[in-house]
């Protein structure tokens, strides 16, 4: 194991976030505050409790997931895309480092960054609503699993993309709709029956549902299913990355 290599990749990626600290932290914090003001306070005050949870509180897990997903994907995809774009990837290809170690370095750093952002968002939320977390251990488990699996997903996008447009297209056209329609701001039960069934094909529903359960013990689908979905997603991402590395697809000539 080339631990030094993992250390420097991780360090370099964290350093990049540190150098743009304001952007890295301010944007999730500001957008969270805006969502709270608009949805939580302004509109939320006219909405009755959902599953016995006040609306302002109800949206906390969804909001956190929204930022977590976008940040994980953005961090990880950019982290590996940028060396490809500038050409500095040659160094990683010529270094005595395994694919697994590259993965741990980049995905580990991206997941760590989003985990920190997730915690900051929850902290920010606690200024607006009174947070009581029913199952802290499960909450942290969901948080970590989400950060890792979506950082992996971002890493795949970063490897696959060969221009900036491709880097943006999946987060913009796939992830954002999935998250908005994944029950961030509402309970799936509030939808008409047809759309409820459609929604069940959206993997983000399971993620948010499980995460919400760890807060309020209310969920759209059972926690076991949520957990299985997120682990399944993680396994699929690992398999895709493994395949890309093995075949050299868009990685190596």
């Amino acid at each position: 194991m080339n631990f030094q290599a993992i250390r420097v990749i991780f360090h370099q990626e964290m350093l990049r976030a540190w150098e743009t600290l304001f952007q890295s932290l301010a944007s999730p914090v500001i957008s969270t505050c805006l969502y709270f003001i608009v949805f939580g306070s302004a509109i939320g005050s006219r909405i009755e409790n959902i599953d016995g949870v006040p609306y302002g509180l109800f949206i906390v897990p969804g909001l956190t997931m929204l930022s977590l997903l976008t940040q994980s994907i953005a961090n990880a995809s950019f982290g590996i895309f940028f060396p490809k774009f500038t050409g500095t990837i040659y160094e990683i290809h010529s270094a005595p480092i395994s694919h697994f170690e590259i993965l741990i370095g980049y995905v580990g750093a991206a997941a760590t960054k989003s985990l920190i952002i997730g915690i900051i968002i929850l902290f920010t939320a606690s200024f607006f609503v009174e947070l009581n977390i029913a199952h802290p251990v499960w909450m942290v488990t969901f948080l970590i699993l989400t950060c890792i699996s979506f950082s992996l997903f971002g890493f795949i996008i970063g490897l696959w993309a060969n221009d900036f447009e491709k880097l943006q297209v999946i987060p913009l056209l796939v992830i954002t709709p999935l998250v908005f329609l994944g029950g961030s701001f509402y309970s799936v039960n509030m939808l008409p029956p047809f759309w409820q069934s459609v929604t069940l094909f959206n993997p983000v529903v399971y993620l948010i549902s499980g995460f919400r359960w760890s807060f309020f013990e209310v969920s759209d689908v059972s926690v076991g299913v949520s957990l299985a979905m997120i682990v399944g997603f993680l396994v699929i991402c690992i398999a895709i990355v493994g395949w890309m590395f093995r075949t050299g697809y868009r990685v190596k000539q």
Binding site: Q4, H11, Q12, A95, P96, I97, K252, Q253
Partner: protein, 309 residues
């Protein structure tokens, strides 16, 4: 010769169908400076890239210090430093950070004293906190060298180290390369400047269209280059070479107007004086004389031309 890099029957065909290397065999000696000479697109960079692990070969194998560069890639890559042709560097990193990054990437523990000395040797130390984007092209080239040397490699590949570099910096580079060789590093550089190969290499390889046409000791090559031709133009045409001149390496042109004398400048006596006297004794009158010397460039051009259809 103890080979530190041994290349066997190496071929590479890219996905586009372009065959960049054709059955290349090459042994690189421990501690030598080998210059790979060839025009653009000859396959120099592909060859270097395969040895360093950036490109996977289609057929053939590479062993570095006895280890296969694919099955034992950790061992082989740790021994190799690579300076790429393009100035591929991040923008916002500092010199110090990027060099430290390279060292770690190659599995070496932090060693600030070594990196400090390295940056001083490359006249980069006063720029260590500068951002890479603020550096000149020449400085960036030095940073790439520092990165390649950061993990104390035994073998250094320099892919066109002096392309687009001014004369002063080029001489600087040559000095750096010589110092490295003196410290025991094996150096392989690619270039399309013949004088560069002549100036610093121990051996010269000529590569064109994916084929290694020749690998020769520079001294042997220079010896061949040491041959000169003295061309003597005659006032009156001669129908045949007079018998008294038969002992000299002389050739009479078909039109009988020119005599060509081939001699070796490296030998103790060139025999020019005797030969000229012999010509006079034979009754031939001289109109003019001039000297022709073949250069590495001629050899190179000839070699490259022969391959062209």
């Amino acid at each position: 010769m103890q080979a530190i890099v041994s290349i066997k029957d190496l071929s590479k065909t890219y996905q586009s169908g372009f065959q960049a290397l054709k059955h290349v065999n090459l042994d690189i000696a421990d501690g030598e400076i080998l210059a790979l000479l060839g025009p653009n697109g000859a396959g120099k960079t592909t060859l270097i890239s395969i040895i360093s692990g950036i490109v996977t070969p289609s057929t053939g194998s590479v062993s570095v210090n006895g280890f296969d560069n694919i099955s034992d890639y950790r061992k082989t890559r740790a021994m190799i430093g690579l300076v790429p042709q393009e100035l591929t560097l991040g923008q916002f990193d500092t010199v110090w950070n990027t060099v430290s990054f390279s060292r770690g990437l190659f599995g070496r523990k932090k060693d600030n004293a070594y990196l400090e000395q390295l940056l001083k040797d490359l006249s980069l130390f006063d720029k260590k906190d500068a951002e890479l984007r603020a550096l000149s092209g020449g400085m960036k080239r030095r940073v790439l060298i520092a990165k390649a040397l950061s993990h104390e490699p035994k073998i250094l590949f320099l892919d066109e180290p002096t392309a687009g570099v001014d004369v002063e910096l080029r001489k600087d580079m040559w000095n750096i390369v010589r110092r490295l060789r003196d410290s025991g590093v094996t150096i392989i550089l690619t270039t399309h400047y013949i004088e560069e190969a002549e100036e610093i290499a121990d051996r010269i390889g000529v590569i064109n269209k994916g084929e290694l046409l020749l690998v020769e000791d520079k001294k042997t090559l220079m010896h061949n280059l040491g041959k000169k031709q003295l061309i003597v133009e005659l006032k009156q045409t001669a129908s045949h070479l007079p018998p008294s001149l038969a002992g000299y390496d002389l050739e009479l042109s078909n039109d009988g107007e020119q005599l060509t004398y081939t001699y070796d400048t490296m030998s103790d006596s060139t025999g020019i004086t005797d030969m000229l006297q012999a010509i006079q004794s034979a009754g031939l009158l001289l109109k003019d004389m001039h000297i022709k010397q073949s250069s590495l460039e001629d050899i190179f051009v000839d070699l490259v031309k022969e391959v062209k259809p």
